[in-house]
Amino acid sequence: MLKINQLKASVVGTPILKGLDLHIRPGEVHAIMGPNGSGKSTLASVLAGREEYEVSEGSVDFDGHDLLDMDATERARSGLFLAFQYPVEIPGVSNINFMRAALNGKREHAGLDPIAAKDFLNLVKEKASLVELDGRLRDRSVNEGFSGGEKKRNEIFQMAMLEPKLAVLDETDSGLDIDALRIVAHGVNSMRSPERSFLVITHYQRLLDYIVPDFVHVLVDGKIVRTGGKELALELEERGYDWIKEGVVS
């Protein structure tokens, strides 16, 4: 699904990713953990195609295509979804219209006609119930006036609507109370399938109690320095990142 080879990237001249390797097969859930400033969110932005991030070296293969060769829209339409750490507000644009534009963009890419209004509304209803997003939030402007938890639930709702091949969740747990965390995790878990892969970026182990990963990677200073099973997350929770960092230095 995703093969990252020796990826190096910088933002405004400052190198952040310094030779990152990652291989995600279909159906797998990978978690990336790491201290602040290690490059976790940069990885998410680079994968999604944010222009401010400059890739200097390495390659990224996404489902048989050269990801770095596609623009952000193409990546999204090809099935890459990023759940934002800070979902953006778009005043005056209803959530529903926004999703219709997104879904039809994807359909156009696949050579399909725009979705019929009735089918679309049924789909919205089905997917919204997954994350308990009520009608009021669906009709409101995109993320405007949403609470932190509502914004994150909206991200998962959008993910469910777009049914991506690979979903990157960038610190989706930040700012969530325990109830919202459970709802979000439920949404993600119900979307797990043998074809769909997840890359879960998080600072804390807590989220991984709910979304259980197949692999946990530790990112330090732009490189993955350790990979393990889900128990690695627990160890990190207990011991912090310092012992790993020290291991890297020595």
């Binding site: 195609g49 829209t73 005056g92 926004f98 534009a101 994807k106």
Partner: protein, 482 residues
């Protein structure tokens, strides 16, 4: 008496000059360049106008000659040479083209994007259309229906001939000839425009539009519109259309006057899409418009405008809230791109008690353009319990464009409540990226964001107009970001 005699002599002298000075031109359909009393007499004569109207024009001209072109707007342009303009040419038959193949492809591309039907495209670009499809016949049947209700909707010239009492009573009553430089100029030389009268208690069953009339004669450079809503009546009036309009005249100075008598309502919507000039700021229309309405007791005037065209726009649709409990509204979206300049806004003059006004202005600047909001909220001593709410937002698409706000508030009655909110923001890279990441392309992303931003204003437009206006906003901003 002595003075009368003197006047008579004067009149004779001037008439003589006209008689001889214009013997050759009077036969032609186009006046020579330049503005003088003779030219005004020529125009008035061509239109077979009554004596009072000619005098009114001449008075306006006398006033205009003493006036200076305003320099206070935040605009930078070369003042037109008023003596180089020809002030009259008979309604020209538009050059009829054989097929759409002969039309400027860029124009067609834009119209296609706006979703204008093929037949409509032909009509707007002057291609000969099937007789059955000709909207003139449609217009005629509409006219019959309006006639049954006693609604008068015709050209201003026609109204001067057919309904002189109404024209004489109201023409210049809201925008006096001496109001400003451009209004005075228009008063002196206006060639035509629309006239509309809705009788007492009648609710006009359809949106009245200048659309049809454009087809019949072509809009004038100095257009003049007069709308009168009698007691308890209602009318919604649409001006302009979203299709790009080219005109060889660089200067446009229109005047619109609205009269809302007791308990009536006038909704006036405009989409202005005159040629804005090229990307380097060459060419384009100078649009200097005076629009004002008066509200009598418990009446309401609502201005809605979508301004995307013209190289220079100078326009402040205003309301005089004279009657108690009257309401004035102004909803505006002004888009400037490339080298366009707009200085637009409104004036709300509160005279009556319990008068309310609302101002929602959304400016969008792109390219190297300059976009200014200029508004006045004036609460006079007589306006007990007056209220105003103003919201002026500016959206910048580029680092090189400018957004400016000049709000003036004058309160002379302590019971007034006046609120003003203003924001200036730059279109968010984050917002665009969020859309891109969801699979929405850059062009559509900008369209979504801008339309969302202008939603409060676009919602005020009649349905069909709103759909086209939304597309127009996106087209006007093409290539702004990315």
């Amino acid at each position: 008496m002595a003075y009368d005699g003197k006047d008579k002599v004067l009149e004779e002298v001037t008439a003589k000059a006209y008689e001889f000075g214009f013997t050759t031109d009077i036969e032609s359909d186009k006046a020579p360049p330049g503005l003088s009393e003779d030219i005004i007499r020529f125009i008035s004569d061509k239109k077979n106008e009554p004596e009072w109207l000619l005098k009114w024009r001449l008075d306006a001209f006398a006033v205009w000659q003493k006036m200076e072109e305003p320099e206070w707007p935040h605009l930078n342009y070369t003042q037109p040479d008023y003596q180089a303009i020809s002030y009259y040419s008979a309604p020209k038959q538009k050059k009829v083209l054989g097929s759409l193949d002969e039309v400027d492809p860029e124009l067609l591309r834009t119209m296609e994007k706006l979703g204008i039907s093929l037949e409509e495209q032909k009509r707007l670009s002057g291609v000969a259309v099937d007789f059955v499809m000709d909207s003139v016949s449609v217009a005629t049947s509409f006219k019959a229906k309006l006639g049954e209700l006693g609604i008068i909707f015709c050209s201003l010239s026609e109204a001067v001939q057919e309904h002189p009492e109404l024209v004489k009573k109201y023409l210049g009553s809201i925008v006096p000839t001496k109001d400003n430089f451009f209004a005075a100029l228009n008063s002196a030389v206006f060639t035509d425009g629309s006239f509309c009268y809705i009788p007492k208690g009648v609710r006009c069953p359809m949106e009245l539009s200048t659309y049809f009339r454009i087809n019949e004669s072509g809009t004038g450079q100095f257009e003049r519109t007069l709308v009168i809503a009698d007691k308890g009546s209602y009318v919604s009036y649409l001006e302009g259309c979203t299709a790009p309009q080219r005109d060889e005249n660089q200067l446009h100075a229109a005047v619109v006057e609205l009269i809302a008598l007791d308990e009536s309502e006038i909704k006036y919507s405009t989409v202005q899409n005159w040629y804005p000039g090229d990307a380097e700021g060459k060419g384009g229309i100078y649009n200097f418009v005076t629009k004002r309405g008066i509200c009598h007791e418990r009446s309401k005037i609502s201005w809605t405008q979508v301004e995307t065209g013209s190289a220079v726009t100078w326009k402040y649709p205003s309301c005089i809230l004279k009657g108690d409990h009257s309401i004035g509204e102004f909803y505006s979206v002004a888009v400037t791109n490339n080298c366009q300049q707009a200085d637009t806004g409104t004036k709300m003059i509160h005279l009556g008690r319990n008068t309310h006004s609302t101002i929602i202005s959304k400016g969008i600047s792109s390219g190297r353009s300059q976009n200014s909001y200029r508004g006045l909220v004036q609460i006079m001593p007589s306006a007990e319990n007056a209220r105003n709410f103003s919201q002026c937002d500016s959206l910048l698409m580029t680092d090189t464009s400018g957004a400016h706000t000049f709000p003036y508030i004058e309160v002379k009655n302590p019971s007034a409540k006046v609120e003003h909110e203003a924001t200036t923001s730059k279109i968010g890279e984050d917002q665009i990226f969020y859309c891109l990441q969801r699979g929405i392309d850059a062009e559509q992303a900008i369209s979504l964001i801008v339309n969302g931003y202008a939603k409060d204003v676009l919602n005020q437009l009649p349905m069909e107009f709103a759909v086209e206006a939304r597309k127009l906003l996106a087209i006007s901003l093409e290539g702004s970001v990315g």
